[in-house]
């Protein structure tokens, strides 16, 4: 939180500089490529992500209706964006700058590539280059595997990373890892970014007030920070590591504001008894009017008899 605030404050101070400044992407990041082919599906998925995450500043591609900010965000359909290489776009989305937020925690790598796929659909001359699956440069030829488990004694989630090559396996040491928990609208980072120890292990402290589902389950996901070194490896799993949460409906109790079936008993009673009493008395009066009518009828009959005689 605070760092973001500071970041934005710093940004405001250096606005004039930024405006004229080229957004330099480190050379080693420029060449990064998607590992899969962009197609209609990736484009559609990207469009959806774009419409939720990017459209508020960048506007609809091709329309030029982006926000008037300094520096201007730019229309993704124009050269300003399209002249970037795929790796540059990826870097900018991941890291952000100034008012452009970092989507590091918000979007997965694949999702960012989907957005790039969508953006590239506005460039007819674009030819996609595909990179083979990123493999670890630190452990060449090995497949890196992550294991996640919950240690209830000190309420930590323990990650163990191993590089498996043929039959042998070595612990992945010194790798920076982050642990995310799935929430409705995004991923919540648990603890800090941590580095695997000599055994390839790292423990993340689970906050005491982290709610899980009705069984205390949470969906967690671990990722390496440095994908170029350790490969694009992530591990999704469900762990019983959080508080058991039994959701209570907010409309369960009887209340003045609830619907009529859940009205407070005293209101129902007062209203119906009051109404019934009033109606009862009105009925009684009507009966009496009827009595007057009947009495009159019999009297009149008698008097007619008298008249005849």
């Amino acid at each position: 939180m605070r760092s973001i605030l500071l970041g934005i404050v710093t940004f405001l101070v250096i606005v004039p500089d930024l405006a004229g400044q080229e957004w330099i992407v480190p050379d080693d990041k420029k060449g990064k490529l998607s590992t899969f082919q962009f197609d209609e599906n990736t484009k559609k998925s990207g469009e959806k992500i774009y419409s939720v995450n990017c459209i508020s500043c960048h506007g609809t591609p091709g329309k030029g209706n982006f926000l008037k900010l300094v520096p201007p965000p730019g229309d993704p359909a124009t050269d300003k964006i399209q002249l970037n290489r795929d790796g540059e776009l990826f870097y900018k989305v991941i890291n952000g700058r100034g008012q452009m937020p970092s989507f590091k925690n918000a979007l997965s790598s694949d999702e960012i590539w989907h957005v790039i796929s969508f953006v590239r659909s506005f460039n007819s001359s674009y030819k996609q280059l595909i990179m083979p699956v990123i493999t670890s440069s630190a452990y060449p030829g090995a497949v890196i595997k992550m294991m996640l488990s919950y240690n209830s004694s000190d309420s930590t989630i323990v990650l163990e990373a191993d590089a498996v090559k043929q039959n042998s396996s070595v612990a992945v040491t010194g790798a920076e890892v982050k642990l995310l928990v799935h929430r409705t609208f995004g991923h919540l980072q648990i603890d800090d970014i941590k580095t695997t120890d000599i055994n390839g292990k790292v423990a993340f402290k689970v906050p005491a007030n982290l709610p899980g589902d009705t069984l205390g389950n949470i969906q967690v996901s671990a990722r390496f920070i440095n994908e170029d070194t350790f490969g694009s490896v992530s591990k999704d799993t469900i762990l019983t590591a959080a508080l058991i949460t039994l959701p209570v409906s907010l409309v369960a109790e009887r209340a003045m504001w609830n619907n009529v079936r859940k009205a407070p008993v005293w209101v129902i009673l007062t209203y119906s008894l009051g109404l019934l009493t009033a109606l009862g008395f009105i009925g009684l009066v009507l009966m009496k009017i009827r009595d007057i009518f009947i009495i009159g009828e019999s009297v009149l009959k008698d008097s007619e008899k008298i008249n005849i005689t």
Binding site: A263, Y271, S272, F281, V285, G296, V299, L300, S303
Partner: protein, 468 residues
């Protein structure tokens, strides 16, 4: 037997003379037709205004999101308030045993019936979707004061109607043989409505029982109807409405407006129906005292309502009070409080002002002020909500009623006048039987005598006389 017979003869004579005076007005004369024609023309204009509102929406009024309740609701509160007088006169004063309310009670009930029946219509004119009125009965939420209001206004109307009708049954029986030259349908209606009344002892007893039940029943109902109306405001947290004395404040105010309406009606009937013999200076003197009394009670509640928040000056209360006492609404507020409440009370303390003419002037001021008072209660508290009003067109901030809105607001008054006119042109406005009974008693001086009057005999004698 002899005394009772002489009593009954005297009663008959009295009935003859009283009914002659009172039934004189049961006719459709030219004045009636002109007056109704005028009212119909005005109503047509009002209804035309309403069709515009139906077509274009409530935007044709001065109402907007900030002040979303205006003239219509003020009008509604005024009508409910005025209808409350039926309960005050016939029930409270009648049950205490004041004999002088007898000739006034029916006038009060006519006002109650007319105003209570129209009150519901006003709410419909304020609804954005009047076509969905049935939803109130289909989906009604028992927690909503609106549902309570609908319920009690309907019940109160019914009971008021019965309180007007039931004491009139003997009159209808008396009148049905004395309606020579009136349209046949009217005679037939009297015949039907008098439900075989022959003045039999048992009938008298049953009628008195029914009347007594209603007189008692209407007290809690009347309190309920206006307390619930006050809760439409008091259940909200707005400054100026958020008051725990709103119920009694409204009820005491209702007595003021209702009593003044009755005084105006009395004056009118006395003059135009030539009833000086029955609505005497004595009656005006008495009802003048009542108006003074209820106004003093209302002043007391006013002091409570403004002094207590004025002492504490909570932020929004302060803004609200300043607006009322020294701001935009100050002329209206002081006009209402001085000309419509304080000065009338002072004047009414002097005997010479408790005469018909000065009283009708005073009552007119009080009644007009009562309407404006409802406007002050409803409108200003909405102008200052808890959070500032911003980024809206300027005409949204200040509420000014439009012509269409005013026209639609006139309609209920026209309708009420029509109902009052019809009721007092078709039926006796004063209780013939009770007045005759009272005068007989005054002469004979023995209450027991009257209990033995065999009205069946009276009736039969009349019938014989007619046959011959």
């Amino acid at each position: 037997m002899t005394t009772s017979h002489s009593g009954s003869t005297r009663y008959r004579e009295r009935v003859d003379s009283v009914s002659k005076d009172i039934l004189r007005n049961v006719r459709f004369n030219q004045g009636f037709i002109l007056w109704m024609g005028f009212l119909t023309a005005v109503l047509a204009v009002c209804l035309f205004a309403y069709t515009i509102q139906l077509r274009k929406g409530l935007g044709v009024t001065g109402l907007r999101d900030i002040t979303s309740w205006g003239m219509y609701i003020a009008n509604f509160v005024f009508f409910v308030a005025t209808s409350l007088v039926g309960m005050l006169i016939s029930s409270v004063l009648g049950l205490i045993g004041f004999k002088w309310v007898k000739p006034i009670a029916r006038i009060a009930e006519i006002i109650a019936v007319a105003f209570a029946s129209i009150a519901g219509l006003i709410i419909i004119s304020d609804m954005g979707r009047p076509d969905r009125l049935p939803n109130v009965f289909i989906y009604g939420r028992v927690q909503s004061p609106i549902l309570w209001d609908v319920t009690v206004v309907t019940t109160y109307f019914l009971v008021s109607l019965m309180l007007w009708f039931i004491p009139m049954i003997p009159d209808l029986a008396i009148a049905k043989t004395r309606l020579n030259g009136r349209p046949a349908f009217l005679v037939k209606a009297y015949e039907l409505l008098s439900i075989n009344w022959v003045g039999h002892k048992k009938q008298v007893k049953t009628l008195n029982e029914a009347g007594r039940i209603l007189l008692i029943l209407i007290v809690p109902l009347a309190f309920a109807i206006h307390t619930v109306t006050s809760w439409l405001f008091a259940v909200t947290p707005r400054a100026g409405w958020d008051s725990s004395i709103f119920g009694p404040y409204f009820i005491s105010g209702a007595f003021v407006s209702g009593t003044s309406a009755v005084i105006i009606a009395m004056f009118f009937y006395r003059k135009s129906y030539k009833l000086e013999k029955y609505l005497t200076d004595f009656h005006f003197e008495k009802i003048g005292r009542v108006l003074a009394l209820v106004s003093i009670v209302y002043i007391y509640f006013n002091i409570n309502e403004f002094l207590v928040p004025g002492y504490k000056l909570k932020t929004l209360d302060e803004i609200h009070l300043k607006e009322l006492l020294a701001g935009e609404y100050a002329p209206l507020f002081w006009g209402v409080q001085l000309l419509g409440l304080l000065i009338p009370v002072i004047l009414l303390l002097f005997k010479q002002f408790r005469k018909p003419l000065p009283m009708v002037v005073i009552a007119s001021f009080v009644l007009a002020a009562s309407w404006l008072k409802r406007y002050i209660i409803v409108v200003p508290p909405q102008a200052h909500p808890f959070l500032p009003v911003q980024n809206v067109p300027v005409e949204w901030i200040v509420y000014t009623p439009t012509l269409i809105e005013i026209a639609i607001s006139v309609a209920p008054l026209v309708l009420a006048l029509m109902i009052i006119t019809i009721l007092s042109k078709l039926f006796p406005v004063l209780p013939i039987h009770e007045l005759a009974e009272e005068e007989t008693l005054a002469v004979d001086g023995h209450e027991t005598d009257l209990a033995h009057i065999d009205e069946t005999a009276v009736y039969n004698e009349e019938k014989k006389a007619n046959n011959n």
